[in-house]
Amino acid sequence: MECVVQGIIETKHVEALEILLQGLCGVHRESLRVHELCLKSVPNLGLVSSEIRLLCDLEQPEPTWTVRHVGGALRGAGADQISVLVRNMMESKVSKNALRLFYALGYKLDHELLRVGFTFQFHRGAQITVTVSSVNKMLKLHSTDEAVPVTPGIQLVEVTAPASSENYTEVVAAMSSFCEYLAPLLHLSKPGVSTGVVPTAAAAAASLMSDGGGTAL
């Protein structure tokens, strides 16, 4: 299970966001370059088509693969009140043969994308991961070297934290309080909800950049 919120930020403010996160999290950024393949089982062959994502981490010298399944979200009146999406999620490291396996099982490639950016992982009430990345699409199949951004001027910010059904309320609280710190730069919401940009982003970014100009990252 995981708690997740997403937001967008203009590309010109990403550096300021990085400075802010560096200060808030206290850890160093880790670069991110993930090739994400979304496989779907063919829909008219089962009651429900299932979708899994294979993530290949290209940042390591040896690419590592992860398989990830995103399940349904928490529903109900309580779920509507919290500002964070709590959903089932299973993840596992797999060998590089996972792709062949899933093809053999009957999954087909639905879409693929490449995420390039950075991520911060830290503990602040819960184990929180903040990922700021530009989402790129590949014009030719699997051509990760020739990927272009889907939206050049906007990058995606995702804040996730693993949770279990017993402690998800604390995790939600920890995430919400952390997200408030990012309020001057961006607004975070559940993945289906669009937020727009924050009007104070420019001023906040300017102040962050001017103060942080002397610090080396």
Partner: protein, 548 residues
């Protein structure tokens, strides 16, 4: 009279007026000290009267009149009560500490009471006084007070002006730095553009909109990136997986005429062969040939009345008895698993049910001979595929949930033997096997298994598999569980030593993805899976839930 009073008055005034310290008149009134004084005096008088009485009695040795004496005492009591009430008011205005003098404060009290400062404090005090009243000590006190007051006023004025200057400077500083203090707003046009971009981005990330490529662009034309080079074997380019249907057709034209189970078996064989191609084994050829050699037996089952009858019979579990429920659930599962596994669009309609039914009865026919054949085939194949004994275990152990998976996987491995194995899982056979497995290590299972398995530990594994199968297939959540089976089986296609772990993992994974249930359901599903008897209620509950 008046002259005398005036004289005495004048006489009294000749002396310098004495400074008498008096309490603040308000406090004096509050304390009402006069009343306290009168009460004290009356109390004193009453007590002294009693004492006199006793004195007289003692001298005359008379018998005291007790009634009278007691009356006196009661008078004294009353006076005492009144005076205590008055004293309370007095004592409210004062605090006394310590209340009593006893051993511990007897020595310190004089020091506490003295008004003379300690020597060093006295020195400090003198120094400060000197500083303050520099040159003023000779003046009368009033003049000193005046001078100190002026000094205080000057300092106050200086502070005020300083504050003013700071406030002005602050305003100027912030004013020039931030410009107008209005809240910044986003330009509407720009906001609309950004909103549009944002929707694009969010839908791309969350749903993959805008990232899908039409089929013709899905051929791998340019060179693959490094991480995909060895994953997607490039010598399979003519048979890329998305076009697996074409591959299947290539491999099995002679088998398409069957009721479908065989063809599916062969198709899966072909894909299995391709799957194993990375290991550079000729298993593809052997697989198809072996399949061709042994098509006779599956065909019998394919046309059996059992399979035929079951093709059309896919009732909802709610209409069935629990025993039949399991059977039909198995069939449904098989159907769904097949459908997901087999990427054969042209075969879906006809072959799925028959495949499930007809191939299952063949599973029991697994012999050591077949096993050897498996092994020979297995050696050349990809390590991801099932090992020989593992396949038998899995067939029997995973009848219910993953029989189709087995079919798919086993068909990947072997040809005809798999068909035979799968055909063992016809509905009556399934229920028999299932019940047997559930209750006891059934005799019919043990011979098969012992022939195939290296150890006796297959039985608990099998039970796990069955129970796991039971659990994992409520229909609406089938996709998740399919994934689980797939993912877990991906992990499970390991050498036999690790099978038990994987089965357990599989089950755990299945539980984790049981359905898109609430966390409570997931919790309940995560109960230990070792107890198969628990599984049935879970399973049935889930089925009911999911079918609502």
């Amino acid at each position: 009279m008046a002259a005398m009073e005036g004289v005495t008055m004048a006489g009294a005034q000749d002396q310098p007026p004495k400074v008498v310290e008096r309490l603040n008149p308000a406090v004096q009134q509050q304390l009402n000290l006069d009343s306290v004084k009168t009460r004290a005096i009356s109390l004193f008088k009453a007590i002294s009267r009693i004492l006199e009485e006793f004195d007289v009695i003692a001298r005359t040795n008379a018998v005291p009149k007790w009634q009278y004496v007691l009356g006196q005492f009661s008078m004294v009591n009353l006076e005492l009560y009144n005076i205590v009430e008055d004293i309370k008011n007095v004592s409210k205005a004062f605090v006394v500490h310590p209340k009593n003098v006893n051993a511990e404060n007897a020595t310190i009290l004089p020091v506490m009471l003295s008004s003379k400062l300690l020597p060093e404090i006295e020195v400090e005090d003198n120094v400060k006084r000197e500083q303050l009243l520099h040159g003023m000590q000779i003046l009368p006190v009033a003049a000193q007070i005046e001078k100190l007051k002026t000094r205080i006023d000057m300092i106050g004025a200086a502070c005020e002006s300083a504050e003013k200057i700071i406030a002005d400077a602050r305003k100027a500083y912030f004013g020039t730095r931030q410009g107008p203090t209005l809240l910044p707003t986003v330009d509407k046009v720009q906001a609309a553009k950004i909103q549009e971009q944002e929707n694009l981005l969010r839908s791309a990330v969350n749903h993959g909109e805008g990232l899908r490529m039409p089929g013709d662009q899905r051929q791998v034309t340019s060179s693959l990136p490094m991480h995909l080079v060895d994953v997607l074997a490039t010598n399979d380019t003519t048979q890329t997986f998305p076009d697996s249907s074409g591959m299947y057709q290539k491999g099995t034209p002679p088998l398409l005429t069957t009721a479908g189970n065989n063809s599916q078996g062969s198709l899966l064989q072909v894909s299995g062969a391709q799957f194993g191609r990375a290991a550079a084994s000729p298993s593809g050829a052997t697989g198809s040939t072996s399949f061709d050699n042994t098509t006779a037996s599956p065909l019998q089952y394919a046309n059996s009345p059992r399979s035929g009858a079951n093709i059309m019979n896919m009732p909802s579990p709610q209409q069935q008895q629990p025993q039949q429920l399991q059977q039909h659930q198995q069939q449904q599962r098989q159907k769904m698993m097949q459908q997901q596994l087999l990427n054969q669009q042209q075969l879906r309609g006809s072959s799925m049910p028959s495949l499930g039914q007809s191939q299952l009865p063949q599973l029991h026919d697994m012999t050591s001979q077949a096993q050897q054949k498996f092994q020979s085939q297995m050696q050349g194949q990809h390590h991801v595929q099932f090992s020989q004994p593992l396949s038998a275990q899995q067939l029997q152990g995973r009848q219910l949930a993953s029989s189709a998976m087995h079919m798919g996987q086993n068909q990947l491995n072997q040809g005809n033997q798999l068909n035979r194995q799968l055909n063992q899982f016809s509905s009556p056979a399934n229920s028999a096997i299932f019940n047997a497995a559930q209750t006891t290590p059934a005799s019919q299972m043990i011979p098969n298994m012992s022939a195939m398995m290296p150890s006796q530990s297959i039985l608990p594994r099998m039970q796990f598999g069955i129970s796991g199968g039971n659990r994992t297939l409520p229909a609406p959540s089938l996709s998740d569980q399919m994934y689980n089976m797939g993912a877990a089986n991906a992990g499970g296609m390991m050498p036999i030593q690790q099978q038990q772990q994987q089965q357990q993992q599989q089950q755990q994974g299945a539980f984790g993805n049981m359905s898109q249930n609430t966390p409570q359901n997931i919790q309940s599903n995560m109960l230990p899976m070792q107890n198969t008897s628990q599984n049935h209620p879970n399973f049935q509950q889930q089925r009911q839930q999911n079918q609502q």
